[in-house]
Amino acid sequence: MVGFEIVQMFFTVQTIMALLVGTIGGMFIGALPGLSATMAIALLIPVTFGMEPVAGLVMLSAIYTSAVFGGSISAILLHTPGTPASAATALDGYALTKQGKGLKAIGISTISSMIGGTISALALLFLAPPLSLVSLRFNAPEYFLIAIFGLTIIGSLAGDSLVKGLASGAFGLLIGLIGMDLMYGYPRFTYGFMTLESGIALVPAMIGLFSISQVLIQSEKIAKLKGKKEEKIIDVNSLEGTVLPSWKEFKSIVPTMIRSSAIGVLVGILPGAGGDIGSWVSYNEAKRFSKEPEKFGKGSIEGIAASESANNAVTGGTLIPLLTLGIPGSAAAAVLLGGLLIQGLVPGHALFSDYAGITYAVIFGFLIANILMGITGLLIAKHIVKVSTIPIGILSALIVVLSIVGSYAINNSVMDIYVMATFGVIGYFMRKTGFHPAPVVLAMILGPLAESSFKQSVVMAKGNLMTYFFGRPISIVLIVLTILALFAPLMMNYAQKKIQKNNTAKN
């Protein structure tokens, strides 16, 4: 009965149109650096004023998930993450593009995004009330420990040298200190610039570190060639592979996709953590569990699958506390809350009883949007991968223009363009000297989270911080996990050496 009602509400011309517009529009916006899912939703909310609730909300949620997917396309083909959530995808995706396997990378990313998004939609459909209770168990102490756990990745994240990785991470933490301190309201390292009080904005810095540095490196190559040959990322004839992975490849990434989707949903339901954290944590766990961890950063399809299934799983996850408790799990979900309220839908139990028809129709629409996004992605992949065969001279100019527009658009701030340019130069020199920009971005995301949640924990503990942390079950689990993450590799190394020694002694 209810099922019939939902189907009836969903299959209207307006809703289907809204779904199509949301999915395809979202992919475009997501692919553009700087134009985030949050902004796309904010700009389209006034459009939904006059729409039916189901159509309007389906459009907004479709934009959300497909914008997150869209970000991976530019990350893979141009080393320009469209959103911070796809920064981890750029590591392996671009490596594959350079090998001529961009098509396969986009295929993996599309399938992973679709599966991650679909799993999160199913979680939203069937597990929303219990999962929302889980989300409430996490607070400042747990966020602090998640941030610390995430930071354990830094040394091994990218590049060959542990020390260089740590140095990059420390630099990122330092950048994260800039701005107004949350607890005491003291401006740090702002040197009188008012725009620095909110800190260095993540997106322009990331665009600089990833895409502008890439443009500079390639321009240098062209300059060396002195016009002898037209430089491209990859020659048309070297493009290889199919969009669909082989059965063997697919089987090999299934565990990664499921694990990463679970991590993504979990990170999504936490109000203090979003897609960027979800994708990095999954990327690292995939590396830890992988049989071929050495391939990560050099074109591992597991790496792409991990980051992409996680960041799309986050989208459905963020909607869980939003719909059940009125607590958005991310910045984009916070904007969606406005869209709900304007339709007269107040989050809470009533959404699942009095307005169950509308709510389930919207969730159903979100599910369909994820599948539609996957199909569209697979269909256009073959065409879109040709971007990597455009001469670099033309491509670079386009990337720079898009980067400037994107950086400016976030806060309508010229300062952000300077930030992007500065970080572009920093990123260029870092990469020339063997430092990778990825740990900088990760530390910029996690550092401020660690700092503010630690300070909050101190106040919440009302005195005894140690008993407070150790009195919370989830905290204890996270502490154990962090210790394992830090020392397990060392212990395993030690054990292995010992076994070898024993063996040689026996022989």
Binding site: Y184, S198, A350, L402
Partner: protein, 341 residues
């Protein structure tokens, strides 16, 4: 092969167009209004407005101030007959946008939203070195007043009513939520400690959602929030609002007593936002703008829309609005030593 290259070219051009469009949506011309032709008061007032008006919102797109602005401004457009663009200029607790607004030409084509107490605490905090104060603006009209509330988790059986909260806070240390240094929640907590001898310690968090989750999860004892943000949880039974820091009961939550009613004196707290312009605008233009906003504010449709968002329209104009803001400034100066300023 050729076909798909063509496709790619079209795609890239489209991408550029979209990004340009998206930027265009959130902001239009940044160019200053150029020469101020025809300085005579009356003629300027008669012609105004002849071109689109920009309204600077000092917070991000999709936030509370932004949504409120985007609901109200179409009704003002109808009165003035020109398009009105919202320009989001977030940063420095709102002062990035406000500093821009002060420096604009007072010709009526650039207006802005100002938020109290954020704008005041921004310049009263000596660490910030702000060059401007509220007296550098012409205040046009208040739009929304959102009173503070004291709430607890619904099943927290330590607290039956507001007396239990105040009493326990006087005896021991209780944690309470705030959304940043010098926000209305923070001012409310410090005022309570100052007036009633309570021992609330402030947990500073990023925003309205985080503080709500912290109390709902039982991590922080007392939720200090606003009517607009807490009413939904109160109605759904997740939290209980025990008192509102307003001179009279608030229509959205008629069952909740004011703190004054409960016998704790005139302790009020709220966040408010309204429209302001750079100082020294032509009086005729100022009057025309004020009239247009007044008509829009009183539009039933607009009031209903805002109520759906949980926000109470409180239209107060000109000098009266200015006096209200100055009163807030006075209250904050009164507790400035508690803020460490």
């Amino acid at each position: 092969m050729k076909k798909s290259l063509k496709f790619i070219t079209v795609l890239l051009v489209l991408m550029l167009a979209i990004s340009a469009f998206a930027v265009g949506c959130s902001s239009t011309s940044d160019a200053p209004a150029g020469q101020n032709e025809g300085g005579e008061g009356n003629t300027a007032g008669n012609d105004f407005p002849t071109k689109p008006i920009d309204v600077i919102v000092s917070f991000g797109a999709g936030g509370g101030t932004d949504v409120g602005a985007r609901i109200l401004l179409p009704y003002v457009e109808k009165e003035l007959g020109v398009p009105i663009n919202v320009i989001n200029k977030p940063g420095a607790g709102g002062w990035v946008g406000w500093a821009d607004l002060v420096n604009e030409n007072p010709d009526g084509y650039t207006l802005g939203y100002i938020n109290t107490p954020a704008i005041i605490t921004g310049y009263l905090n000596p660490n910030n070195n702000r060059r401007n104060t509220i007296d550098d603006f012409d205040l046009i009209s208040n739009h929304v007043t959102d009173y503070n509330v004291i709430a607890v988790k619904a099943d927290d059986n330590r607290f039956e009513n507001i007396d239990d909260v105040i009493k326990l806070a006087q005896e021991t240390e209780l944690t309470a939520t705030s959304t940043g240094i010098g926000t209305d929640n923070h001012i409310a907590i410090l005022t309570l400690n100052n007036e009633l001898g309570t021992n609330f310690t402030t947990v500073q968090m990023g925003g309205g959602n985080e503080i709500y989750a912290a109390v709902l999860g039982g991590h922080v004892d007392v939720l200090i929030s606003n009517v607009g943000e807490a009413t939904a949880g109160h109605n759904s039974g997740d939290i209980r609002i025990l008192a509102v820091l307003a001179p009279e009961r608030v229509d959205f939550i008629p069952d909740v007593p004011t703190l004054e009613e409960a016998g704790y004196g005139e302790i009020y707290g709220y966040s408010a936002r309204g429209i302001a312009a750079p100082k020294d605008m032509d009086p005729a233009i100022l009057e025309k703008i004020t009239d247009a906003f007044a008509k829009a504010m009183e539009d039933e449709d607009h009031i209903r829309r805002m109520a759906e968002m949980g926000l109470q329209v409180n239209a107060v104009y000109g000098d009266e609005y200015y006096n209200q803001v100055k009163q807030v400034e006075e209250n904050i100066k009164h507790i400035s030593d508690l803020l460490g300023w």
